[in-house]
């Protein structure tokens, strides 16, 4: 793991620090490359603002919200058509790193 990824992961474990530091640090710190699993999300979650879709957008959102949603899908507490089956493939650590990376992506890129 690269140093920046390790750093991000450490921050990810401390949600409050993340929220505070996000806007300051992430543009520099977020690796250009998506962490494991993150690049598959955009198969369903549109990146382009031009796409009309009922599937919610997940870029540029609070990482804590993404983490909470993924954990609730995984436990089944939040009902879903497909996210439960997908979230079960990710550990807490993986979800945190993905959430931080997603948060650092511009919401209306491309």
């Amino acid at each position: 793991m690269s140093g920046s990824a390790r750093l991000l992961e450490k921050w990810a474990r401390a949600p409050r620090a993340v929220t505070l530091l996000l806007s300051l640090v992430l543009p520099v710190m977020a690796p250009a490359e998506p962490p494991a699993g993150a690049s598959s999300c955009s198969g369903c979650h549109a990146v382009s603002a031009r796409v009309e879709t009922p599937i919610p957008r997940i870029l540029g959102r609070q990482p804590t919200d993404i983490v909470a949603a993924m954990q609730a899908f995984r436990s089944g507490e939040r009902p879903s058509t497909v996210m439960g089956r997908i979230a079960k493939g990710f550990s807490d650590d993986e979800i945190r790193v993905i959430a931080i990376w997603l948060a650092a992506q511009p919401a209306e890129a491309r």
Partner: protein, 421 residues
């Protein structure tokens, strides 16, 4: 055992050392060729261009217009027009990617050259092969390119899709439609059964005295319980599935009479759809990256060929372990491969990926089902992450099925926007 492995490893290492130019970024502009502009190739070219600005990316694609297979079964059933399946390459060009509309004739992995039909040759530092599938003409006795004009495969979208649709439209009420499905592996494992469902929907609404028979070279198939439950509910008495053990394996076809021969019986069809055995697109063999199965073994972290260093294979052509041959998987692999190629160009080691696949199928226009999986490399193979994935619930209400049908369409809009801009 130890010794052979070690020697093989050393041989491999020596070969790559001889072939690989030292960090490609030492050169001013490393050249990457992506061959094939489908879900895999077009996605990969775009992602690479973003991930590594210094790379000169060329996309080689023979057709000016791509016709997508997902949702082409809806076109066959008259529920959608082919124009909704078609995409050009202008947005990709506008991003600074050189799109060469040409057919690759051969690849020389030693000299790192791709030869094009136009006569020119392109050199590369890394080559990404994404040629999709080709049909194994002749593997099913009687089925050759001429036969496909009588008994369309419609397994590459375009004219074949429209031919099958016209044949259905021309069939009298009371006719018999026969679909034959191949053994694994093949492009889009749930595809034959989605097609059967939507043709059954067409027959039920337009030609209700007709019959549909699916002759299968397998005893089980993707999302089988969900498909069969839906068929029972929506198309009782209309759709018959004949498994391998019940004599479904087709051994020969006769295009002149639209007849299928199995070990047990012959079936004469009014409309005949042969989904034939397949292999990686021909250029994979020409590049010496396909093995005796006809598909391409790859490293699951970088998608680099196990047979030729410097060449990566993604999408349907690759042997991607537990991942099926789907547009979703092709697009997901393309993004992982682009990151890996970008890392390798910087002389970094690509990190182990995780990938998702989801295949939606329509059983009727407002009745969607899905299968999902999450994958990671284990012992050199892309393997299911245990406990994840699976199919839609068996006991879901109709509004759940309608929601998945709407997500299926949203998925198509999303993935085609990501792939083609």
């Amino acid at each position: 055992m130890m010794r052979t492995t070690r020697r093989a490893f050393l041989r491999g290492a020596a070969a790559s050392a001889a072939l690989l130019p030292a960090p490609a970024l030492a050169q001013a502009q490393p050249r990457v060729i992506v061959l094939g502009g489908g879900f895999a190739g077009a996605t990969c070219a775009r992602e690479l261009q973003r991930a590594e600005h210094r790379a000169a990316v060329t996309l080689v694609e023979e057709s000016p217009i791509y016709t997508a297979c997902p949702f082409s079964n809806s076109v066959i059933a008259g529920l959608r027009e082919i124009a909704a399946q078609q995409f050009g390459y202008d947005a990709i060009r506008a991003e600074g990617i050189a799109v060469s509309q040409d057919r690759a004739r051969s690849v020389d992995p030693q000299r790192r050259l791709v030869s094009l039909s136009s006569g020119s040759a392109l050199g590369y530092d890394r080559l990404v092969l994404a040629p999709g599938t080709d049909i194994r003409w002749g593997a099913l006795p009687g089925y050759d390119e001429a036969a496909a004009e009588q008994m369309p495969h419609a397994w590459k979208a375009g004219d074949q899709t429209l031919l099958l649709r016209r044949q259905l439209e021309g069939m009298a009420d009371g006719g018999t439609v026969v679909i034959s499905a191949p053994a694994n592996p093949f492009r889009c494992p749930p595809g034959p059964y989605e097609r059967a469902s939507l043709i059954a929907y067409y027959l039920k609404t337009k030609k209700p005295r007709s019959k549909l028979i699916v002759l299968d070279a397998k005893d089980s198939f993707s999302k089988q319980r969900l498909f069969q439950a839906a068929w029972h509910q929506l198309y009782p008495g209309l759709l018959e599935w004949v498994s391998l053990s019940n004599g479904g394996n087709v051994t020969e076809v006769d295009p002149a009479t639209r007849t299928f021969v199995t070990d047990f019986a012959t079936y004469k069809a009014d409309v005949a759809n042969v989904i034939p055995p397949q292999r990686a697109g021909h250029i994979a063999e020409a590049a010496s990256v396909a093995d005796q199965t006809g598909w391409c073994p790859i490293d699951p972290v970088s998608f680099e060929s196990r047979l030729q260093p410097g060449i990566h294979v993604i999408g349907d052509a690759a042997i991607a372990g537990a991942m099926p041959k789907s547009a979703f998987a092709a697009n997901a692999q393309a993004k992982v491969c682009a990151a890996a190629v970008a890392a390798l160009l910087r002389d970094e080691t690509p990190s182990p990926p995780k990938l998702i696949n989801t295949c939606y199928s329509l059983v009727a226009p407002d009745y969607g089902i899905s299968i999902a999986g999450v994958y990671h490399p284990v012992n050199g193979q892309l393997t299911d992450v245990e406990g994840a994935g699976g199919v839609s619930p068996a006991d879901a209400p109709l509004d759940f099925r309608a929601l998945e049908a709407s997500y299926a369409e949203a998925w198509f809009r999303t993935i085609t926007a990501e792939t083609f801009g």
